[in-house]
Amino acid sequence: MAAEDARYRQTSQYQMWSFSPTQLAAMRENTNAAARTRIAERLASLPAASNTTSAPTSSVNTPDPEGASISALPEFLSAPEEAQLMNFYTLELLRAGDHAEMPDEIKATAAAFFRRFYVTNSIMTYPPQEMLIVALFFACKAEGSFISITEFGKQFGKDNPEDILAGEFLLCQGLRFAIDVKHPFRALRGAVMELSTLPDIERNRLVAAEHRAREILRFSALMTDAYFHYTPSQIMLAALSLADRGVAERLITQTFHYVAPPFTSNNNSGSETPATSGPDAPSSNTKRNAAPRSSNNSGEDKSQIIGSHIRDKVLGTIEACRDLLSKELPERREHWTNKTVIKAQITPLRKKLTKCRDPDRWNLVELQRVRREQATKKGGGSDDGEPDDRTLESDAAVFGEALPVPPKRRKVGATDGGGGPGEGKGDPFGGPL
């Protein structure tokens, strides 16, 4: 776990896309509020003629101190309503992925992309029904499957490639160009292999546990915010625990009985970077020494991580993750496709959505066309000059968050022991990711 943990902290998933529940809720509230404001302005500025659906007609002679445009505003989705629709569309995405017979990893990556995108974008702004197809398409690429857009589109009855491609770059931007998603599937495979070496676990039981855990990873982990809050190995353990608590506990016991190997000196990298045993080039350690956590990555931590208080902390985290996953157990698939449920809960929200969506952003193809047009106008043809200076005055100070040195957010979960030897063979947390 320690090795995985140190590695995991380097990932964009941890650095950019991990939040506490409170943070995530606040971000979604903000996204929702900002979208309302923007859309209200945009709707208000639309020519009156196209506004007739909701514009009052009786105010012609009656001066309205509040202004007609205000009363013309539609009812917006609230953040919780967006969240509920989000789950509905996540399932749509998974079903689409099933329909196209995509591998688990691709579907899972697409679901993560989709939910990340809508942390900072409202579904009132960009159309979720289309973005979920875009997410699936781009997830194929991100996972190394470069399928032709025409073939891909056909599977979803989309004959015009532009319909999908128009959203690709938008999605990428929304992901802040971090397109690697770490999944718990491999950790599960590793855990099962580990468990299968134990004499006291019955084969059939293990097979059943793995099967159920995988179902949970394929559904529950994607339908909830698990990826935002927990590491892949925590999610895996929580899923395994839901599948068969005894098996999961056995694995955890096994882990914390693991005895640390005698520690080599030479700072922290002796075990993590075999480079130290290679040429004595001064570079071998520079980066790691510069890393903020490196000073902790030593034997002290290792002894802590096998200590019982750490184990308790781990158990607490896994329990919390378990609770989260149990909100969307695989059986809930029926719930989300149940006609009565849809009619009562989803359809009203979607109807509401048709009235409050962003007039300037909803049509992706049109949006892209306008953006491109604007680009050619501004760039004066060639895109390689340096016209960038003419764009916006800098608001840079406002945005603290750049890709390069993302702020360290809270630690994901409890496993902050960090950075011990990477060779923990008995470590069910999967060694390096």
Partner: protein, 415 residues
């Protein structure tokens, strides 16, 4: 499942209810973002582009992108690759900090959106942070949705330039050991993160101002976490391509990169490409002649590979001694390491980790300190370009990689 679930019965009701108007007419009043602590908040209104007539409204993600873009100033063109132009740049508020801005070309032949090279490079460089791997500092999109990768600037050329400039650049065993050490660490780190580079060659080993070698160009990289998946055999520039790929293997691992590392090692020593075949057939013939003929004896299962064909005259695998004459400059231990990297059977080939544990690194001469390594001579820019042309390997792949190789990559795997 017969019916696409996306053809939802309700969907007709959700067509846009009104015509979409220009996104450029007003400015927004609130843009959510998050500050350095991850706490979202509202900055003041985004401003519109000056002198633009119509104001341009920016959404949060667009605004973030604008800010990222504005951190850098783009300068002269440094070079051109198959799928990108590379420019010199600097940090706007600190002009002394130079960067390289790699701007992905819009590929005419690739109709399927963001090009595979760009997707791969973006994905892997973002995650791999190591002193011997080129750093991705930032990403932004410029107008017309061009992807720009901001990379650390590596001003001292690449290993190929040094190898080829026989007249002006001299180096010895300690230098080779230093360069090889940096390369091996980079490859180890990739493999330890389950990433295959798949295009290791001297020209993709760039050199930083302090002499550090950095593995670059992840446009063909992929992860090999999933052993069951088929991968394309059509990767790695031919001279550096291992026999299993030449024989069309679809399942392979880190050993493919190790062979390339071995080829770079050999090339550093003899200052010419070791096995420079003009065609794949010729490449195989060269391997058979110089290393040995792959047979069931030395490589169980090799004859089952799809494109296994070897010259009829079987050459026994050469032992270490045979290399001493040509490669002896790195000593017996160095030759031992070299021979292990070019084991025909990928299962028997040394791993990156084992390479790092090899005794050669610890025998004399010591690896040269990076600051003391030989550097490219002056006036090399033009020469570099010339060499590149002269050496212009692989029209079919390097020059047209995006179109030819990449599109074949794992095509249809998603289905």
């Amino acid at each position: 499942m017969a019916v696409s679930p996306l053809v939802a019965p309700t969907s007709d009701a959700f067509k846009p209810s009104r015509p979409i108007s220009s996104p450029f007419k007003r400015q927004t009043s609130a843009v959510p973002s998050s500050n350095g602590n991850g706490t979202p908040r509202y900055p003041p209104a985004a401003r519109s582009a000056p002198g633009d007539g119509a104001a341009m409204t920016l959404d949060p993600i667009e605004q973030l992108n604008e800010d990222e873009k504005r951190k850098y100033v783009k300068g002269k063109k440094l070079g051109e690759g198959t799928y990108a132009n590379v420019y010199l740049g600097h940090v706007r508020h600190d002009p002394s900090t130079l960067v390289a801005i790699k701007k992905i070309k819009v590929q005419q032949q690739y109709q399927d959106g963001m090009a595979p090279d760009a997707v791969r490079e973006l994905k892997y460089l973002r995650e791999l942070q190591h002193p011997n791997i080129i750093s991705l500092l930032s990403v932004f999109s410029s107008k017309d949705q061009n992807l720009n990768l901001v990379l650390e600037y590596l001003p001292l050329g690449d290993l190929e330039m040094l190898i080829r400039d026989v007249d002006r650049v001299r180096y010895g065993a300690g230098d080779i050991k230093a360069w090889m050490g940096m390369l091996t660490r980079a490859v180890w780190f990739c493999h330890d993160n389950f990433v295959l580079h798949r295009d290791i060659k001297p020209n993709n080993l760039l050199i930083a101002a302090d002499g550090e070698v950095k593995l670059a160009d992840f446009g063909l990289a992929r992860s090999f976490a999933d052993p069951g998946r088929r991968m394309t055999a059509n990767v790695i520039t031919r001279w550096y391509r291992p026999p299993e790929l030449l024989f069309g293997a679809r399942h392979y691992g880190g050993a493919v990169d190790i062979w390339s590392v071995g080829m770079v090692f050999a090339e550093l020593i003899i200052r010419a490409p070791f096995l420079a075949g003009n065609t794949e057939v010729e490449q195989i013939a060269l391997i058979c002649k110089q290393i040995g003929t792959p047979t069931e004896d030395n490589w169980p299962g090799v004859t089952q590979l799809r494109e296994y064909t070897v010259p009829s005259e079987v050459v026994p695998v050469w032992g270490k001694e045979a290399y001493m004459g040509r490669f002896g400059a790195v000593g017996a231990d160095g030759v031992d390491l070299l021979v292990r990297t070019v084991a025909l059977d990928p299962k028997k080939r040394i791993t990156a980790r084992e390479m790092l544990e090899h005794r050669w690194w610890r025998t004399d001469p010591k690896p040269t300190r990076k600051e003391d390594l030989p550097r490219k001579s002056g006036g090399e820019e033009k020469m570099g370009a010339d060499l590149k042309r002269r050496n212009g390997i692989l029209d079919d792949e390097t020059n047209n990689r995006g179109a030819k190789v990449a599109r074949k990559l794992d095509f249809g795997q998603a289905k």
